[in-house]
Symmetry: C2
Subunit: 356 residues, 2 copies
């Protein structure tokens, strides 16, 4: 079981370090860890945010544990050299086309949600975001507009093949989460304006044919943004494209109110000897302002490691041990500054390890 | 002073009817009203959602008072014939490139916001959305993907010229709203991924040079979606493109919590003898489920008429009379079902008229 650890910039190394300590404490046999440079630190050391050696290391691993990328010192660089390109490159090169982002308020932390009590506690959804297509990876460039001024352009696009495979992920996820009722998928697009969405919607509808047990409905993205905050209980699994998914998954996370606890998985279809290959990362950024101060909350990284054990190594029990330990640590007051507490990075790591 | 009234589908005619009664009650000299078909009803009568006669009527007026479009009976039609195309066509043909969407919680209606008390009352922002460019109006179509499957595509694009003019609108709006402090504009884009956003951001930055009194900052759209709900006080004027503006303005409206009260203005640069030509509409849709039942809340349409008097006819006093009458009617309990009350369409119109 090989893990490539790409901890990146800012607080990335600190929080990933705690996740590794937690994995270590579990004493899983056969787990080996390789560390690679990614993001701003990789640019400084190798002149590019995603060096070939890092990509190779990731490719040869069974899973990637990712920290965060982003470094204000790189702001002036041309886009291709900026830290964020590393995560886009990893998704594309490793064909991690499905991003899974659960958004659920932790028991006892309802007060951190910006939403009113009942709305906050009814929020429990999973966003399945396509990650390797859309306007992110279409052709793009600059040209001269008809009036002679400068014009920027980006091609938005989706093919049936790309949509069908992400739709399958969403339907499977809906089935898995429907243990106590009917699985539901809400497809989110902008089919009243976009041709891309028209193909998207037709393909999702067709894929639904092979999943008669799942209830499917469709919603425009503007309406979905409204309902995520005004009627979150309406959603179970949201299936959407790369651009809308970027916005809606961050919106759903903000609605939870504790970004420092949220993890994500990016997976494709490639299977390793142990499970599905995937990349796991906290949804928070590199937070350069608090990097190195020992104040960052590592729980999202620790929970990302748990997601990794479950999805890429089929180690459900070990994953549950981590998740329960985090929940108990939270209940016992091991809360970072972001949660209104004052526990530091290391102390939170210790608190989780003690409760494994 | 010519007004083209395009009341459209569903509850559009009912709510617009009350707005017209309110205008009538003001007894403004020289106001003439023309009515035209738009949306699903226009399709039924003329075979297209935006017939040429309607467009001509709108063009020859000094302002357009718009109701709502959308009719489930048209769902099966090809996109070009669907009711929503009428509003897109009007924006484009009339060069209404700037959509102004104020989002502020009405005093006494904080409980309707999905946001917690303090967040709800600190929400007071204006979204300035570009309306005639972006992926909405770029080329689009279907083609065969490299693997032979069907592919939908839409071109996202913005030229400097298009960005500069919407930026001017935002800076002017920030100046106008800064009576008691420094004007602030937050530019929202996705410059870490999109070339379109890169041109957009550069142009906004340049336009800021002529507005040294306004503080400008930049934010990615995913972050903006988060902060609108978690830290709304951070925003004053948000400047953004057509697609992101569609999502964020609906999100901000949902955060207010009383969609039935929110109005919008779409303006360009064309001046008439009376002021700036514009189109005014409630942000709510055609609500076919309650059409004809007399239950729709007409306040957003009435407030749209007030916006029209202010922006297109420089009748600030008359606009304020309407707005104050609405506020008093609300305070006196004239609340529609959407606000937790039981007042009907006509009764709400009466309540406003009595308080003019
Ligand atoms: C850093 C950025 C390019 C990225 C994205 O837009 O996908 C981020 O926002 C995310 O969601 O992981
Ligand atoms: C009806 C639709 C095409 C339209 C849009 O996306 O612009 C609507 O959502 C709006 O915001 O006015």
């Amino acid at each position: 079981m090989k893990i490539a650890v790409l901890s990146g910039d800012g607080i990335g190394p600190e929080v990933t370090g705690e996740a590794l300590r937690v994995l270590d404490a579990l004493g899983l046999p056969g787990l080996t860890v390789f560390e690679g440079d990614v993001g701003g630190i990789a640019y400084k050391r190798h002149g590019q945010p995603l060096p070939p050696e890092t990509l190779t290391m990731a490719r040869e691993a069974d899973a990637v544990l990712f920290g965060a990328v982003g470094d204000p010192a790189c702001d002036g660089l041309e886009r291709a050299l900026r830290p964020e390109q590393a995560i886009l490159g990893l998704r594309k090169e490793l064909e991690l086309f499905a991003n899974l982002r659960p958004a659920k308020v932790f028991p006892g932390l309802e007060h951190l949600s910006p939403l009113k009590g009942e709305l906050a506690s009814s929020l429990d959804l999973l966003i399945v975001r396509e990650l390797t297509g859309d306007v992110y990876f279409g052709e793009k460039g600059e040209r001269t507009a008809s009036d002679g001024s400068r014009e920027g352009w980006d091609m938005m696009r989706y093919s049936e093949t790309e949509v069908a495979r992400i739709a399958r992920v969403a339907f499977r996820a809906a089935r898995a989460s429907a243990s106590d009722g009917q699985g539901r998928v809400t497809n989110v697009d902008k089919a009243n304006v976009l041709e891309t969405s028209q193909v998207w919607r037709d393909t999702v509808r067709e894929a639904a044919g092979s999943h008669p047990d799942i209830a499917l409905d469709h919603m425009y993205v503007d309406n979905a943004a409204m309902q995520i905050i005004s009627n979150p209980a309406r959603f179970s699994v949201i299936l959407t494209g790369n651009l809308f998914g970027d916005i809606l998954s961050d919106l759903a996370s903000a609605a939870v109110g504790s970004i420092g606890l949220l993890a994500s998985a990016s997976v494709g279809e490639r299977r390793t000897a142990h499970g599905v290959f995937g990349l796991y990362e906290p949804i928070h950024g590199s937070a350069p302002d608090i990097a190195g101060t020992g104040k960052a909350n590592p729980m999202a990284s620790i929970l990302s490691a748990a997601m990794m054990l479950r999805h890429s190594f089929a180690l459900d029990d070990a994953a549950a041990r981590i998740e329960n330990a985090v929940a108990r640590a939270l209940a016992d007051g091991a809360r970072g500054r972001d949660l209104g507490g004052d526990a530091g990075t290391r102390a939170i790591g210790d608190a989780v390890i003690e409760r494994l």
